[in-house]
């Protein structure tokens, strides 16, 4: 198992892709802290699943866009599960609003969670890890919208492309200190967040036709890629962003 003995904090892990990552991490031997902001019971269910695999698990409520929340979250995990080895910055929100209608508040809330939140969680984790002389690993969860235009995402897409630059720049500063940082850009993954597409027989075939492999992905498929980046099997990989989209972007 590739993550045996590691402690991982996964943000936004109560459902969707984050849940898939948590499950794979448990199967790969990691103890998992499941962050959530709203879905406490769902987070507990994921934790129970992880414990069922013989791993330790905890849930931790925090808004990743609030520094005091994030600092308290990292402290809590550090105290209860031990020093964090792997941070997966998965928490994110997506709304669809035409550019001409987008408000200041919508821009600010979305960029606060999707971009500043990943920066903030990374900084709090890296400060703690480097202060204690520990190595670490961060995996950012972006989106294919880093490289692809979809309607009504003038606020969302820049956060995801921004994560690539954040990944590169944090990698440049943190890799020499022993913390690798990479970014995974999922395509269409079958989750609650994409139910509005997955459950629309009038929309889905047209979208699947754009995906070379002709299907949506499963959250655990993202989990397996993240597990690779979080493991020592990728010990020479840092600053990279990879699309996990069945062949959608770039053609």
């Amino acid at each position: 198992m590739r993550l045996e003995g590691k402690v991982a904090l996964i943000t936004g892990a109560s459902r969707g892709i984050g849940k898939g990552i948590a499950e794979v991490f448990a199967e790969e031997g990691a103890d998992v802290a499941i962050n959530y902001v709203a879905c406490g019971q769902a987070a507990e269910d994921v934790a129970a699943w992880v414990r069922g695999k013989g791993r330790r698990a905890m849930t931790v409520k925090a808004d990743v866009a609030r520094r005091d929340d994030v600092e308290a979250m990292v402290d809590k995990v550090w105290n209860e599960l031990g020093p964090i080895d792997v941070l997966v910055n998965n928490a994110g929100i997506e709304t669809i609003v035409p550019f001409l209608e987008l408000t200041d508040e919508q821009w600010t809330r979305l960029t606060d969670v999707n971009l500043r939140g990943e920066w903030l969680c990374s900084q709090v984790f890296c400060r703690r890890a480097t202060a204690e002389g520990r190595r670490g690993n961060i995996v950012m969860i972006g989106s294919i919208q880093a490289g692809k235009v979809l309607p009504g995402r003038t606020h969302y897409a820049p956060t995801k492309l921004g994560l690539e630059a954040l990944t590169r720049n944090m990698s440049a500063e943190m890799t020499p200190l022993g913390i690798r940082i990479n970014c995974v850009h999922p395509g269409l993954i079958d989750t609650d967040m994409t139910a509005w597409v997955m459950k629309r027989p009038d929309l889905l075939p047209g979208i699947l036709a754009q995906i070379s492999m002709g299907r949506a992905g499963d959250p655990r498929e993202i989990g397996r890629v993240v597990a690779f980046f979080a493991s020592d099997d990728s010990s020479y990989l840092t600053g990279q962003s990879i699309h996990v989209d069945g062949g959608w972007v770039g053609k």
């Binding site: 590739r2 990698s171 440049a172 020499p176 990728s234 020479y236 840092t238 770039g250």
Partner: protein, 260 residues
Amino acid sequence: MSSPAPWFRLDGKVALVTGGYGGIGGVVSRGLAEMGARIAVAGHDGEKAAAFAKVLQELGADVLGAAFDVLSVADTERMVDQVANHFGRLDILVNCVGLNREEKAGEVTEAGFDQVLDVNLKGAIFQAQAAARHMIRQGTGGKQVHIGSVRTLLALRGRGYAAYCAAKGGLAILCKQLAAEWGPHQINVNVVAPTFVQTQQVAHMLADPVFYNALVARIPLGRIASVDDVKNAVLFFVSSASDFITGQTLYLDGGITATQ
């Protein structure tokens, strides 16, 4: 490596590794065998292929050594067919064939340019095509990994890399196109693009302390890639862990491309 998760196992799969006894290919072949695959080790030197196949056989693997001329499309097809016939199927291609011939841009020769493009780029499409024909006919998908280079993305100042950069740059978009065309057949085509790897091929460059120190100083991870780094990335791309990744180039470079 500790015991891998089940989705990394390759039991029942047949893998062809071209350049399969070389510095990178040899370690990749061994890694594939450890994951349970049956292997064909192919290269231009039949004796070396057979000798390396014997080494892996002694470790308990089911291995075939095969000779082929990457510069001949007909011979490439013949070799790929031979491998598929021998094992009864073909699931994985790892193309580790590569060659560099340095010529400064003002002095590039037609022969030199053609040789580098033919081995690195033309060789890749016709290996890919011959392998894909079997994968498509079988109807059970497939995995192709081509070894690229950071020269897919980064030029190299002060050296004669025009042909090599053109070839490796071409390889990335070639594989993206192959992924687009063969995605419906569930064939994943990806590129692992390392920086300098500790192999014989670049030993003469790494032996120059000025070059070596300047190179390592630019790598955030502070070291050259090992062949195991490449092997682990290849094993990821041929496993079911990467079933939803195709047409991608992964730079295995200690952070260089991200900081240039």
